[in-house]
């Protein structure tokens, strides 16, 4: 497995090597290309970091919605509907578990991205080393071994580049997966319906909703009564 992976990753670099007849020309071209790719890498890291921050915010927003279930349960109890209160609390527990696992995965992503930043710094150092090395190699070009050394330097750098590129792609994939996961939890929260464990809950939802509406009407009535009482007192 180890050697095959190395072969796969290095194939790209070797292909670039074969294409150019004069290795000196290749050194300059290769350097320019690497500098360009380094810019892409930096941009890629900025993007995945921003996406991860959005996921962190989303986790906070999801968590902030949990008290809705408590309010529903409280309302149900007030109306003597322990059955409905129980369902609301079950939903809360299940949503909370999902949010917690989501948060854990977002935290993993953060650790992964810290490694990515280190990888970028390493890459930057290597590109810099390549720049110095290429001038030396160009000057030594007549020496028989120079071609081999050029090949090594190019492959070494290109390999690093491909590796960082892969790490970024990986981080992007994970971010995208988590994004849809977060959205799914969000939708669950909004609809108040949690997957199959509570299959056929539309009737319950209607009841919980009705209880909620009833509560707000009661509160409204209370407010009106108080206003009326205040009015009479003033008369």
């Amino acid at each position: 497995m180890l050697k095959r992976l190395a072969a796969i990753f290095q194939a790209k670099a070797n292909k670039a090597l074969d294409r150019l007849e004069d290795p000196r020309e290749m050194l300059d071209l290769s350097y320019e290309k690497q500098v360009e790719m380094l810019r892409d890498v930096k941009r890629g890291i900025v993007e995945v970091t921003a996406a991860r921050r959005r996921l962190e915010l989303q986790a906070e927003e999801l968590r902030a919605k949990l008290p809705t279930f408590d309010a529903q349960a409280m309302q149900a109890l007030k109306n003597g509907r322990e059955d409905l209160a129980r369902i609301a609390l079950e939903r809360k527990a299940s949503t909370q578990a999902q949010i917690e696992s989501f948060e854990a995965q977002v935290a993993n992503l953060r650790a992964e991205q810290e490694q990515l930043v280190q990888a970028e710094q390493r890459l930057q150092a290597k590109v810099e080393a390549f720049r110095t090395r290429k001038e030396v190699l160009k000057a030594q070009y007549t020496a028989a071994k120079a071609t081999v050394r050029i090949g090594e330097a190019v492959t070494g750098l290109s390999e690093e580049m491909t590796d960082v590129g892969y790490a970024i792609q990986r981080a992007e994939d994970r971010t995208a997966q988590l994004k849809s996961r977060g959205q799914a939890i969000q939708e669950l929260l909004e609809s108040g319906v949690l997957e199959d464990s509570l299959g056929g809950t539309t009737g319950i939802d209607r009841e919980l909703e009705a209880l909620g509406r009833q509560a707000s009407i009661d509160a409204e009535l209370e407010r009106l009564r108080a206003a009326m009482a205040a009015g009479e007192a003033n008369r």
């Binding site: 497995m1 180890l2 050697k3 095959r4 992976l5 190395a6 072969a7 796969i8 990753f9 290095q10 194939a11 790209k12 670099a13 292909k15 490694q115 990515l116 990888a119 710094q121 390493r122 150092a125 290597k126 810099e128 080393a129 390549f130 090395r133 090594e152 330097a153 492959t155 070494g156 750098l157 390999e159 491909t162 590796d163 960082v164 892969y166 790490a167 792609q169 990986r170």
Partner: protein
């Protein structure tokens, strides 16, 4: 021998460690063939430990190609299959060799 831990950089391994590395690599190949995700994860972690604890990190300003690539420690079997697929992740990769890995 130069080994790359993917996403983490390169390590230089003493020749004395190559046998041990190959032994774990063979175990990994076996896990892949059997589709044993648990063993695969354990062997992969063992390989990372071997390299990090007993290898020497390659300095940042050194440019050398690696003799071997080790997938990230949390790489799944499915992800590895994609990595190994010549038409997959890496553009311009060579045709697949024998099934020996």
């Amino acid at each position: 021998m130069i080994v790359r831990l993917m996403g983490r950089g390169q390590w230089r391994l003493d020749d004395a460690l190559i046998d041990e590395l190959n032994r774990i690599d063979a175990a990994l190949d076996d896990d892949i063939n059997r589709g044993d995700a648990t063993e695969f994860r354990e062997h992969l972690a063992a390989m990372h430990r071997l390299i990090e604890e007993r290898g020497e990190p390659v300095p940042e300003d050194e440019l050398v190609p690696s003799d071997a690539f080790v997938p990230p420690v949390d790489c799944s079997l499915e992800e590895l299959r994609k990595l190994m697929d010549p038409d997959g992740l890496i553009p311009g990769a060579p045709a697949k060799e024998g099934a020996d890995g």
